[in-house]
Every structure is written in structure tokens, then in C-alpha cells.
């Protein structure tokens, strides 16, 4: 395949005309691509220039600037665990250790999870908090985290 899937192309096209300038669509378009392919591949950036006229330097600048864009292949379930002030005070590091154990319990290469510490998720009243893909989990602790993760199956 040397371009985006047809249904995605259509969505990209409509984003490009949605804002005052096509460049304004760079963030939304990258979200679309990421939602579609899980991660943003080098080819995607090149295609955005070739097929949609977005400067690849501009696109790449954006893709590398914002931390929620994934520029490498990723696991099916991505745990973004808040390790900022409040969650840290509420024991985030210990829960993350538990998650690391959970991840370590899978046979090599079979673990569907990745774990990453992220800045504040804006739910400090539910600290410690994490996202698993787009699901938010609050008050995650050493006792409930295994059960939460167990609900994610490939």
C-alpha cells in the first residue's frame, strides 16, 4: 500500500477544509492517522505532503513535539500512568511497580501492555490515575490494578 486507506483519506480531506488553513488540520489529521494505524509511520508523513500538500517538515515538527503521538510501533494496550505530584504522593510509583510485575509475568514478547509515566491527567481527585488506551481508571492501587489489567485481552 502506498497511500492511506480510502476511508481515512476521505476523513483527512474533510479535516483539511474544516479549518481556516490546511496547516491547522495537522494535529487532527495526525490523531486520525494514529487512531487508524495505532502509530504514525514515516510513510504517513511523506504521504501527507505528497497527497495532501502538508509540508512534511511541519508535520514532523508537530508529530515530534506533542507527546501523545506515537512514532514507533506500540503494544495493543498502552498504560499511561500519571506520575506527577498528586499521584506520586498517593502511591503511583508502587502501583507502577506492580504493573511492571504484571508486564513481567507474560512470556517474552507476549505482553500486550506497555507502561509509560505521563504528566498530570487532570483527575487528581481520583489519584493515582491511569489511562489504558482511551479508558480512564481512577484510584488505581496495588490491590485492584491486576484486575483492571486482566480485563484487557487481545
Amino acid at each position: 500500500m502506498d497511500t492511506f486507506a480510502p476511508d481515512l483519506q476521505e476523513k483527512i480531506q474533510s479535516e483539511l477544509t474544516r479549518y481556516e488553513t490546511p496547516r491547522s488540520a495537522i494535529l487532527p489529521v495526525l490523531h486520525l492517522i494514529q487512531d487508524y494505524y495505532e502509530w504514525i509511520q514515516p510513510d504517513h508523513v511523506a504521504w501527507l505532503e505528497r497527497d495532501f500538500g502538508l509540508s512534511r517538515v511541519h508535520v514532523q515538527e508537530v508529530a515530534t513535539f506533542y507527546s501523545m503521538y506515537r512514532l514507533e510501533p506500540c503494544k495493543p494496550f498502552r498504560i499511561l500512568f500519571c506520575d506527577n505530584l498528586v499521584c506520586a504522593m498517593m502511591g503511583a510509583e508502587k502501583v507502577m511497580d506492580k504493573i511492571r510485575d504484571h508486564i513481567g509475568s507474560f512470556p517474552e514478547g507476549k505482553c500486550p501492555f506497555s507502561l509509560q509515566g505521563v504528566p498530570c491527567l487532570g483527575v487528581c481527585d481520583g489519584a493515582p490515575a491511569m489511562l489504558v488506551n482511551k479508558d480512564r481508571h481512577l484510584k488505581v492501587n496495588r490491590d485492584n490494578v491486576d484486575a483492571i489489567l486482566a480485563s484487557y485481552k487481545v
Binding site: E20, L27, P28, F65, S67, L85, L131
Partner: protein
């Protein structure tokens, strides 16, 4: 005790996000009322109310609106819903309770400044809230509150929802504008100010979600009613986010000038597990930390907190317990700002990295007690030197922690060093 409910008036109301619920409780009446008025009248009313920006800086909202040049043909209204200041979760709460309150506030603000196009900029991690907001926008369009000839007038206001991608700096108003332009979220040089040259070089007003959501109430109840609450210089109510090891963490709407201790120990139920209060961060991660002695009589308004050497900021009150090592807190803070510095201004780019680098030395057992003074000096010279306030946001808490907890930090270094450990 009962407190005025402006932003939280949909608490405990079932199905509060639905348009029908909002309408049932007088929703969009303020917009209806305002659209027949001249923009100047609306601005004057908001000025009179004394409403100040709730994003952190506390700039008078009506005054900000009045900066848009009268001759401007294209004006944009942007709602800063990027809520990224650690400890802050109030805007999220507004979306959870009543996204229509925000939409109505934006219709009024757009009319006041002459904007035909408005955007809400939301951080992408708010997946549920984004969905709720989108649904509300769709409802509002269908019901004729947005789009052409809205509410039967000749006005045309379009509202779109733009989603960020993980960058704290986009909460800075010109960083947000850059991001909306599809660029890296790097703040823009001022002057020119956004009210003159903002999104795509057009006059642009950026207001925080909480600010805009307060506007319908002010229109309905009048400036005097709003001003009757809070303090003279900080009128109205504010959402305070209490977090940390307290019994009832959450969002509390209180009049400005409310006692901080009361908020922590009564409203939020005090500390859990018999913990003692070690310090409080009163306004988000960038606000300098305050000691228990400093908050004894402290009230939550812009002036009082500034006088105490910190800032009201976003109203994020983070409670720090006695067993919290301050070096760990400092590490998290400097790492956060290091991670989030956009990198364009040298003092911030290099300074945040340097702070984080030195604190890393503690972990590597290479730090020296004098590094604490060095951290202070670096922070001191990062302050007031950059395009935006991120550098200051990193510097201020660093200065406060290294000053107020110097002994503890030095002990940590010693205990962690090859000498001590």
C-alpha cells in the same frame, strides 16, 4: 454551610449534561438576553462584575475583551480547555456537569467581541469529556444555538472543538494559538498581543473554560450579584481543586477570599490516616509551596496569596503530608517542567534541563549540599527572562522549595551521598 453555586449548579442534577436539562434550568436564556444587546454593553457588564481570568493569571475578563480593535473584521474566540496544570481538574468538572454552560458562555463572549468563529481547545487525554463536549455542540447546533441565524437573530457563530496532543505549554494562550494553527505549541512573542494579532494573525481572545462558564450566570443575575460574592478585588466564586491525602478530594466552588485551612480541613475533610500537614501548594504546580504557618489565616484570593508569596493560579490546592520527602517533590516538579518546556527560549530550555540534571545527581549520589543553592540561583535567573511564563512556573516552586526546605534537601543529599549512605 451553603455556598453560592454558579459553576456547580448542576451538581446532583440527573442527566445534567443534556440540553433539555440545561434548558429546563434556564439554559441559554442569558444568551437570548444578550444577543439583543450591543457588544459594548455586554463587555461593560462583564467588566462591572469584576470577573477575572480563571486560567491562572487573573486578568480582568471584560478588559481583555475590550482590547479587540473595533475595526477588526475577523475575530476569534478560543476557549482554553487544555487544563494541564498539575493538580487542576476544575474545567474537566464543568464539562462533566454542564458543557452547555460553556457553550452559552462562549456565545455571549463571541457576541461581545464580535467573533463569528470560536474554538474550544481541549487536551486529548480527556477522552470522555471530549465526547460529551462534542455531543453538546451537536445538540446546540441542532437547537439553533449555534450556526447561522442563531436564536433567530442575524448573528452567525460557529463553534468547533480542537483537540490537543499532549503538551502542557498549549495551556499558555499563545501556545494554544500556535497549536490551533497546526504548529508546535510554542508561545508567540508579545507584543503583538493576541487581542490584536492572534490566531492566524487575527484578533483573538483566549479565555479559560471556568471564566467563560461563569459568564451566563453573570448575565442573568447581573454584575452586582456576582460582585457581592468574593472579595473586592477578587469577586465571585472560584472552583478549587483539593487533592492529595485528604479525606474528600474534589472540586469545591467557594467565594474568592475563602479561608484555605477551612477548605482543606473542613470541606475536604482534613488529612487521611492521621497524616500531618507539611506544606500546601495553593495554585497548581507552578505556585510556590506554602508552610503550615503561612496558611494559618490565608484566604483564597489573588491578592492574599500573592502577598503570602505564592499564587492562586488555577486554584489547585495540593496538600502535602508530613511524610512526603521534599526532594521527591522537587524531582517531580523539575522533571515535569523539563519535560514540558517547549524549547524555544534558551533560559527555559536549558534551565529546566539543568535543574532536572542536578536533581538527577541526587539519585546518582553525586550531588553536593551546595547544589541546593545552585538550584536556587539557576531558578532565580530563569525568572522573567522568557517569552512565556513556563520558565517562571519552573523557577518559582524551585525557589520556594529550595529556600523553605533547604535543610531537609541537604540532609537528603548527605544521606544519599557516598559519605552518608
Amino acid at each position: 454551610m451553603e455556598f453560592p453555586k454558579i459553576l456547580t449548579r448542576f451538581e446532583n442534577i440527573p442527566n445534567s449534561r443534556a440540553l433539555a436539562t440545561y434548558e429546563k434550568h434556564g439554559g441559554y436564556e442569558a444568551a437570548r438576553k444578550v444577543l439583543g444587546q450591543k457588544p459594548e454593553e455586554v463587555i461593560a457588564l462583564v467588566k462591572d462584575s469584576g470577573l477575572r481570568g480563571r486560567g491562572g493569571a487573573g486578568f480582568p475578563t471584560g478588559l481583555k475583551w475590550s482590547f479587540v480593535p473595533k475595526s477588526a473584521d475577523t475575530v476569534y474566540l478560543l476557549c482554553n480547555n487544555d487544563e494541564g496544570e498539575p493538580g487542576t481538574f476544575k474545567d474537566r468538572y464543568i464539562l462533566e456537569l454542564s458543557p452547555h454552560m460553556l457553550i452559552e458562555g462562549m456565545i455571549i463572549a463571541a457576541h461581545a467581541i464580535g467573533a463569528k468563529k470560536a474554538y474550544i481547545y481541549t487536551r486529548c487525554e480527556f477522552y470522555d469529556e471530549i465526547r460529551w463536549m462534542n455531543e453538546a455542540i451537536e445538540e446546540a447546533y441542532k437547537a439553533g444555538y449555534l450556526g447561522a441565524n442563531l436564536l433567530g437573530t442575524k448573528l452567525h457563530i460557529d463553534l468547533d472543538h480542537y483537540i490537543g496532543a499532549g503538551a502542557y505549554i498549549c495551556g499558555e494562550e499563545t501556545g494554544l494559538i500556535s497549536s490551533l494553527e497546526g504548529k508546535k505549541g510554542q508561545p508567540k512573542l508579545k507584543p503583538p498581543f493576541p487581542a490584536v494579532s492572534g490566531y492566524l494573525g487575527k484578533p483573538t481572545i483566549v479565555n479559560n473554560t471556568e471564566t467563560l462558564a461563569a459568564v451566563p450566570w453573570i448575565i442573568t443575575h447581573g454584575a452586582a450579584a456576582y460582585k457581592a460574592m468574593g472579595t473586592e478585588k477578587s469577586p465571585g466564586t472560584k472552583l478549587f481543586c483539593v487533592s492529595g491525602p485528604v479525606k474528600k478530594p474534589g472540586v469545591f466552588e467557594r467565594p474568592l477570599g475563602y479561608p484555605l485551612k477551612k477548605l482543606i480541613f473542613e470541606d475536604a475533610g482534613g488529612m487521611i490516616d492521621g497524616k500531618q500537614l507539611k506544606a500546601v501548594i495553593p495554585g497548581g504546580a507552578s505556585a510556590p509551596v506554602l508552610l503550615p504557618a503561612e496558611i494559618e489565616t490565608l484566604t483564597l484570593d489573588y491578592e492574599a496569596i500573592a502577598a503570602a508569596g505564592s499564587m492562586l493560579g488555577s486554584g489547585a490546592v495540593m496538600v502535602i503530608p508530613h511524610d512526603q520527602p521534599m526532594m521527591e517533590l522537587l524531582r517531580i516538579l523539575v522533571n515535569f517542567f523539563h519535560h514540558e518546556s517547549c524549547g524555544q527560549c534558551t533560559p527555559c530550555r536549558e534551565g529546566t534541563g539543568w535543574l532536572a540534571n542536578i536533581v538527577q545527581g541526587v539519585e546518582e549520589k553525586t550531588a553536593l549540599p551546595e547544589d541546593i543553592e545552585k538550584l536556587y540561583q539557576i531558578a532565580l535567573h530563569m525568572e522573567g527572562r522568557t517569552i512565556c511564563a513556563l520558565s517562571d512556573a519552573a523557577a518559582m516552586p524551585t525557589k520556594a522549595i529550595t529556600k523553605k526546605f533547604a535543610d531537609e534537601l541537604k540532609q537528603t543529599i548527605y544521606a544519599n551521598s557516598r559519605l552518608g549512605g
